[in-house]
């Protein structure tokens, strides 16, 4: 069974944590993922730093710029994941922008990612129809998951289409926002989560954007299989003097 599918079958209140590869230091990626796993994180999303991350807020933009300055490359990210896979078996999802995939050569990129142990991808600017036409069948052959976003403006009809075409899980964008905004969950968001739950979708859901602490984590878990935390964790790393301690206290605070 695929790692992502297996995780959703066996775990509840899933915590998926986003990190920017190559941040804060070039090779910290490996230790951060190891410690996330050790402290009970269920899944990690590794961001491939991009110069023009349209869907990301200031925190992730900033970490991406620093990582690029640190010298991160796709090749290096693959090597880091290879290293991580020696000790870590939780699902790894790569997040990045379509231009990066195209420049690496898309076919080679996905094959290479599969070979080093990546389970799924979030490529926010990859259109659904291009995925269907160009990648879906090879994803099925390779056993990879392509994860798509849905937002409060996505119609029921389109959510069903996206659910049907994708696998792994659906990334439920919690509000009208880029990453890192907002700090509470409001009634209109709850209505939206309930609307999605009533659609009887095939894929499980993780709620992301604006999940930052125990309160928002718990609340989101009431309406989905789990959450994705990104900017709040990057902010903790920004201030960190000791990565091991930072990861531990951040995760313990959310899962306590």
């Amino acid at each position: 069974m695929k790692r992502i599918e297996n995780t959703f079958q066996n775990k509840r209140n899933i915590l998926n944590v986003y990190i920017t590869a190559g941040y804060p230091n070039l090779n910290d990626t490996i230790e951060i993922v190891q410690k996330l796993k050790k402290n009970g994180v269920d899944m990690v999303e590794i961001g491939m730093p991009f110069s023009d991350p349209l869907a990301d807020g200031p925190t992730i933009q900033n970490s991406s710029q620093i990582a690029i300055k640190n010298g991160i490359t796709l090749e290096l990210i693959f090597r880091q994941i290879e290293e991580i896979r020696k000790t870590v078996s939780i699902p790894i999802v790569l997040m990045g922008y379509y231009n990066q995939v195209l420049q690496y050569d898309d076919t080679t990129f996905f094959e290479k990612a599969k070979a080093v142990g990546v389970d799924g991808f979030i490529i926010p600017d990859l259109p659904l129809d291009i995925y269907q036409k160009q990648y879906k069948s090879s994803f099925e052959n390779l056993g990879l998951d392509m994860i798509f976003l849905i937002t409060p403006q996505t119609t029921d009809e389109r959510i069903r289409l996206i659910d049907n075409e994708s696998s792994g899980f659906l990334y439920v964008v919690s509000s009208f926002a880029i990453t890192g905004s907002k700090s509470d969950i409001e009634q209109n968001q709850i209505d939206y989560f309930k609307r999605i739950n009533n659609l009887n979708l095939k894929n499980p859901r993780l709620i992301g954007f604006g999940i930052s602490d125990k309160k928002t984590f718990d609340k989101a878990c009431e309406y989905a299989e789990g959450t994705i935390i990104g900017s709040a964790f990057i902010k903790a790393l920004e201030k960190s003097k000791n990565i091991k301690e930072t990861v531990k206290s951040f995760i313990v605070n959310i899962k306590k």
Binding site: F50, S51, D52, L54, A55, G57, P58, Q61, Q65, I68, T73, L74, Y97, Y98, N99, Q100, V101, L102, Q103, Y104, P124, D125, L126, P127, D129, I130, F148, L149, I150, T151, Q153, T154, R158, I162, V173, F176, A177, I178, S181
Partner: protein, 393 residues
């Protein structure tokens, strides 16, 4: 030469956007043609272009310039438009569209500030809120236009991310739209961005070649020229000047990019020369990037040409060979600006000066009819012209 149903010119175009923009972009895609082709829209658009912008702009036969190059050179005088450039043709069109879609808040990006000024102008005209994103560095370089936008009632927000110039201002405008999807209209400034923007902006700018047809008929007895020369930043003035001749193979379409300090120095904005295929601001096109797909910074003395991509139409014109792509360096553009000023008494925008500089790179036959699209006037560039004049003496 038209886009297909997914918004592609050949290999280029499309809408590579995150789901957060799907609803808005789709809403636009579903509505734009029907709205802009309606009689009611066309009447209001044409009326504003005439009474407010001052169209039609003259097609001026430049006698002394023609003598110098031993051919017939006409200048399409977009510099005489209200606010000083072609940019307002597009902002008038899009503001009327935004109004018909009941949007209340207008956002835009700007580099040199010309599109920002043209947007702030139409927002003042329509009484709509206006927020213009501008790179922190450009805000410093283009102070007079920042002041104009403020006087017109716009809020100018500095883009502090990335390289703090036009591409980052565009990213910030897109992020604003993601965060404010319901009441906000993104008024893009060139033939770039996700479908339907490139096609929509080209249609609004097509008034340039529409007028050229009847003006040429009257002046030359034929409704098309042998050559059209236009500068390319994102490509909107060129798209407008080429539009009605895209399928007329008798007309050579000449696009001029900013070579900056020279293509070989890397300090350049000549996208078709050093760019490769990829995705920028939601569109598949040619762009300047490294092997990792990180978008690199362009350079040109002209802030309006300082963009690391070109619109998908131009990428297609380049790849298919339908367009001829030339470049002009900072120096060549400056020389061309001083020359036009001396020969014809017209001070061109630095962007348009790049188109004029290409006159030195083309072999003309004695009786050819050549149109140079004079996209804007030089008022905004006086500081540079004065500084460079002193350097020359």
């Amino acid at each position: 030469m038209e886009i297909d149903k997914n918004g592609f010119y050949g290999d280029f175009g499309g809408a590579f956007i995150p789901e957060m923009l799907y609803h808005n972009v789709n809403e636009l895609k579903e509505n734009y043609l029907q709205i802009i082709e309606s009689t009611d829209f066309q009447e209001e658009f044409k009326d504003l272009l005439k009474e407010y912008v001052g169209r039609p702009t003259p097609l001026y036969f430049a006698k002394r310039l023609s003598k110098k190059y031993n051919t017939n050179i006409f200048l399409k005088r977009e510099d005489l438009n209200h606010t000083g450039a072609h940019k307002i043709n597009n902002t008038i069109g899009q503001i009327l569209l935004a109004k018909r879609m009941n949007k209340k808040r207008i956002i835009a990006e700007t580099g040199a500030g010309q599109h920002g000024v043209a947007t702030a102008t139409v927002c003042a005209l329509m009484g709509l809120d206006c927020i213009v994103y501008m790179g922190e560095i450009d805000i410093k370089r283009q102070a007079p236009n920042v002041a104009r936008m403020k006087m017109l009632g716009a809020e100018v927000r500095p883009a502090t991310s990335g390289s703090k110039t036009l591409k980052d201002a565009t990213n910030e405008a897109i992020r604003d739209w993601i965060a404010n999807p319901v009441d906000t209209y993104y008024l893009i400034g060139s033939v770039v961005g996700p479908h339907p923007y490139p096609d929509m902006v080209a249609r609004f700018q097509s008034i340039i070649s529409e007028e050229m047809k009847s003006q040429l008929q009257e002046k030359t007895g034929r409704n098309y020229p042998d050559k059209i020369i236009a500068c390319v930043g994102g490509g909107s003035n060129a798209a407008g000047a080429f539009f009605h001749y895209l399928d007329n193979e008798n007309v050579e379409l000449i696009a001029v990019e900013a070579d900056g300090l020279g293509v070989e120095t890397g300090k350049t904005a000549a996208t078709t020369q050093i760019g490769t295929e990829g995705i920028i601001h939601g569109s598949k096109t040619l762009l300047m990037q490294n092997s990792e797909g990180q978008i690199t910074e362009p350079y040109s003395i002209s802030a309006g040409l300082d963009y690391p991509g070109v619109g998908p139409l131009h990428a297609h014109l380049f790849k298919s060979g339908r367009g001829t792509f030339l470049g002009a360096t900072d120096k060549e553009a400056l020389a061309a600006a001083y020359q036009l000023t001396k020969l014809e008494g017209i001070i061109p925008a630095l962007e348009s000066a790049h188109a004029l500089a290409a006159l030195n790179k083309i072999d003309f036959k004695p009786n050819e009819n050549v149109v140079v699209n004079l996209s804007g006037r030089g008022d905004k560039d006086m500081e540079t012209y004065i500084r460079e004049m002193e350097n020359r003496d």
